[in-house]
């Protein structure tokens, strides 16, 4: 009798796992950079002030938000970030990621300066229209810094602690829910440590 119950038991276990699995997002990928030092860089800013490097924010908890004007989800995320930036005092650095896409310059005629100029004007217009949550924004035109940070898709958000260590990475848009449930508690914890 007992052996005929085996299929039922196995199936029960399977359903249990499927039920738990339903609540998970298979697209959520943990970053290998968590708890590692944030890769260093020095990049031109959107407004043309002195180049920014993560070293400049040593001793502070800050956030790095990857964005682009061509990114549809960024538009969805943006109001959340704008509201958040007014509410909490941590610096948010924007990383304008590959603003100029290949189709914008199909014949590769533009010089690096011209590209930077185009990207700056586009980015500024966009931030003016949608609000600017960023303390400052840096221009990652060729996406090299993005590679260092393991950018998987835009938008992405990183929390970096006082010692310059990445403590959290969010792939995809920040929502009010992730803000209140995850990001704000992490930031508070880091600031108090």
């Amino acid at each position: 009798m007992k052996k005929f119950l085996i299929p039922l038991v196995l199936f029960g276990v399977l359903v249990l796992f499927l039920a738990v699995g339903l609540k998970r997002d298979p697209h959520e990928i943990p970053s290998p950079l968590i708890n590692k030092a944030a890769p260093d860089f020095s990049l031109q800013t959107l407004t043309g002030t002195a180049p920014f490097s993560p070293q400049d924010l040593k001793g502070k908890v800050w956030m790095l938000n990857v964005w682009a004007t061509w990114c549809v989800s960024c538009r969805e995320e943006h109001p959340v970030l704008v509201a958040f930036s007014k509410q909490i005092g941590v610096p948010i650095v924007g990383l304008s990621y590959k603003e100029i896409q290949p189709q914008d310059d199909p014949e590769k005629k533009l010089s690096t300066e011209a590209l930077l100029k185009l990207a700056r004007s586009r980015g500024s217009v966009w931030l003016e229209r949608h609000g600017n949550p960023y303390t400052l924004s840096v221009m990652d035109l060729d996406g090299r810094v993005g590679i260092d940070y393991g950018v998987y898709g835009v938008p992405e958000t990183y929390i970096i602690d006082k010692n310059g260590v990445i403590r959290y990475k969010q792939i995809g848009p920040v929502t009010p829910q992730t803000l209140s449930e995850t990001i704000i508690p992490i930031i508070k914890g880091l600031e108090n440590s």
Partner: protein, 707 residues
């Protein structure tokens, strides 16, 4: 208006399906004959209503009614008409409509072709099918309604996903769904038999043709999917061990085991509990496949729809259907009698091994598919299981399976003689090994994998041919199920040789080319003549013109394309393939290299034996069709269930010739065994007699097969 009509038809179908589920079952449990007879008319009515709803949705597509959200999401006024038909199942809601339509069609066919079955059985079978239909109709109406409107209507639709705009994909999902849904028939028969408490050879005889037809559809569906991936995705692969592919492979493996196990149950009364479990498993895995695809619990290239609420619904439905059937199984199966005795070396042993190997293979695929989910659920991290795992566990299971195939077809029921079998098979064994060892040298490089693959392919192929040849020399009509089995095995042999050939000897070159450049895969030279812009009905494309030159002569012009579909701006790679019986030459156009518009990345493949995969699959399907339409299924069903002992005796005479057919069609008619023919036949007839009596006289599980 038409959408509302469709929705109304769907709601009516739900009500009718509920009646089809509830009343015949209640009637069969309370012996209310009138209620039991409601099964057939409700099945037909339900089918008509579902077909009406489906037709309404189709009309929405054909008339470009973009006020229907689903149409707007999956069609476009520029979409060519044939693809508008296919677009109906291009998304989640529509593919469920197709599921339900096929279920209704299968149900109606069962209702139609089961006139001779006892009403007690057929009312339960239709009731189980009605229950499945209720589940899916609820699912459609509550979570995935294709008839929802969005007003104001958009001017134009988003267009069908360009990946799906392809003839291969027009027929792939329907075939696969026919297979998935077809498994519900074997399942319903199994459940009906479990409820009745009669798991006898009659039950397995009724289930077999349905299972074989469903298996044929599933085989064709998987083959078409593989073919489509091969030429449409442009990466030259034909099987990726993607979760959704695995979801279709698992029911296939289990139904293959089921077909073989049903044979033992029908002929020898053995493996009854196991066969029922396989029937339940085949359909459960089809449902699981639907769950995996529709819930988005796993990442897959088939990321059509992922919506947790839908996932919860399918999971609950899965739990109810499979949970209750396995409970029923645990309750009833212990009462099942064992079949006739079997020797250590007998056809039963080989068929048991076949079942075990196929089930273990299914479990291995299931484990690999769900492992990432399990690890994640246990908070042990994120990982993915790739082809290396599947190749590592799957191939070692297929090797013994292919090896035992031939002895299994040669061995006699009950007890076989080893010296006889060795004697019978030694020449093809020697020939397969020798040729298997030599062929890799002739075709390229020797490797152990190529040697094993070719040897097994030849072993199965030659063994089957020997079997056909020997049978053809004997007198008597050869039944469809004999041909069915041989064709299916022959097809399998061809697939095995194809897989081995392409895995061992394919050549891939990743190159950058400008106009005028050449790339060589001996003996072929691929010369890029030009790259031009072309315009299709709903896309623009870059098209490369490539001459394939062999020993100084142009043998083919290939025109791979890189398409941009107007509505989605999604780039698509259209590979160009030159094919003959022995190899494919496959070119796919990549992107222009950065910095230089005249240089393009290009992939060139030489893929030997790929066409054998598709040919082999088609032959397997042909085998399935031949087996399903064997005359004896029709004859047995027309002789009908037996109401009285007197009828049983009279029909015994009618069945005797068909039993003889059965014997000849499934056994190697070796002249040395003719004597045992007569001996074997008699107990079978007696057992048939017993089972016929049991069908009506005793409600318990005691049935045929024991001698």
């Amino acid at each position: 208006m038409i959408a509302e009509l469709g929705q109304f038809a769907l709601i009516l179908a739900l009500i009718v399906a509920f009646i089809q589920f509830a009343l015949p079952m209640a009637g069969s449990l309370t012996k209310q004959h009138a209620w039991q007879y409601l099964g057939r008319p409700t099945a037909w009515l339900q089918c008509a209503l579902v077909a009406t709803a489906y037709a309404c949705l189709l009309t929405g597509f054909l008339s470009d009614d973009f006020s229907i959200t689903y149409v707007a999401d999956h069609s476009n006024h520029l979409l060519p008409t044939p693809y508008k038909f296919a677009a109906v199942w291009g998304g989640h809601e529509g593919s469920l409509m197709l599921w339900v339509l096929f279920l209704a069609i299968w149900t109606s066919l069962v209702a139609y072709f089961s006139k001779s079955l006892p009403i007690g059985i057929i009312s339960r079978v239709l009731s189980v099918l009605g229950f499945i239909s209720v589940g899916f109709l609820l699912f459609i109406l509550f979570t995935s309604n294709p008839f929802l409107r969005s007003l104001p209507a958009p001017l134009d639709g988003h267009d069908l996903n360009p990946l799906l705009q392809d003839p291969g994909l027009v027929i792939h999902p329907p075939m696969l769904y026919m297979g998935y849904v077809g498994m519900s028939v074997a399942f319903a028969f199994a459940i009906a038999a479990l409820i009745t408490g009669r798991l006898d050879s009659a039950w397995s005889r009724w289930s077999r043709p349905w299972t074989v037809i469903a298996w044929s559809f599933l085989t064709l569906g998987i083959g078409l999917g593989s073919w489509w991936a091969y030429y449409e995705l442009g990466w030259g692969g034909w099987w990726f061990w993607d979760p959704v592919e695995n979801a279709s492979l698992m029911p296939w493996l289990v139904s293959t085991a089921l077909i073989h196990s049903l044979m033992v149950t029908e002929k020898r009364g053995g493996f009854k509990a196991w066969t029922v479990l396989l029937a339940i498993a085949a359909f459960s895995l089809s449902l699981l496949g639907t769950f995996l695809v529709r819930s988005g619990v796993l990442t897959s290239v088939h990321a059509f729809a992922s919506d947790p609420t839908r996932g919860v619904f399918v999971l609950c439905f899965l739990a109810v259907v499979v949970g209750s059937s396995l409970t029923l199984f645990a309750w009833r199966a212990p009462q099942v009698t064992l079949g006739g005795s079997m020797g250590l070396l007998s056809r039963e042993t080989f068929l048991l091994l076949n079942s075990v190997l196929l089930s273990v293979a299914t479990a291995a695929v299931l484990l690999g598919t769900l492992y990432p989910l399990v690890i994640d659920a246990l908070n042990l991290g994120k990982l993915s299981v790739g082809p290396p795992y599947f190749n590592l566990v799957f191939a070692p299971l297929m090797v013994p399976l292919l090896f035992i195939l031939i002895p299994g077809t040669v061995a006699k029921w009950r007890s076989a003689s080893l010296p006889d079998m060795v004697n019978h098979l030694k020449w093809i064994a020697i020939f397969s090994v020798v040729l298997g060892a030599c062929l890799p040298f002739l075709l390229g490089e020797w490797s152990i994998g190529a040697f094993i693959g070719w040897t097994l392919g030849l072993w199965v192929g030659l063994g089957t041919l020997q079997h056909i040849f020997e049978r053809a020399l004997k007198p008597g009509r050869i039944g469809g199920s004999f041909w069915g089995m041989q064709f299916a095995h022959l097809g399998l042999a061809i697939v095995v040789m194809g897989v081995t050939g392409v895995k061992s000897f394919e050549v891939e070159k990743d190159v950058k080319m400008s106009v005028g450049d050449e790339v060589t895969i001996a003996p072929y030279v691929f010369k890029l003549n030009d790259i031009t812009e072309v315009t299709g009905p709903n896309y623009k494309a870059f098209q490369a013109q490539i001459d394939v030159v062999k020993s100084g002569e142009i043998i083919e012009q290939l025109k791979p394309e890189k398409r941009r579909y107007l509505s989605s701006a999604m780039p698509m790679t259209e590979a160009a393939i030159s094919t003959n019986l022995w190899r494919d030459l496959y070119v796919s156009l990549g992107d222009p290299l950065p910095g230089d518009l005249h240089q393009w990345s290009m992939r060139v493949y030489y893929k030997p034996f790929v066409p054998w995969l598709w040919v082999g699959v088609l032959i397997m399907v042909l085998g399935g069709v031949l087996a399903a339409f064997d005359r004896r299924y029709r004859r047995v069903s027309s002789s009908g269930p037996l109401q009285t002992a007197a009828q049983a005796v009279s029909s015994l005479n009618a069945q005797a010739p068909s039993l003889k057919d059965q014997f000849f069609s499934d056994q190697v008619g070796n002249s040395a065994h003719n004597l045992s023919t007569v001996q074997d036949q008699n107990p079978d007839i007696t057992s048939e007699h017993n089972s016929s009596l049991n069908e009506n006289s005793s409600p318990n599980l005691n049935s045929s097969g024991a001698h």
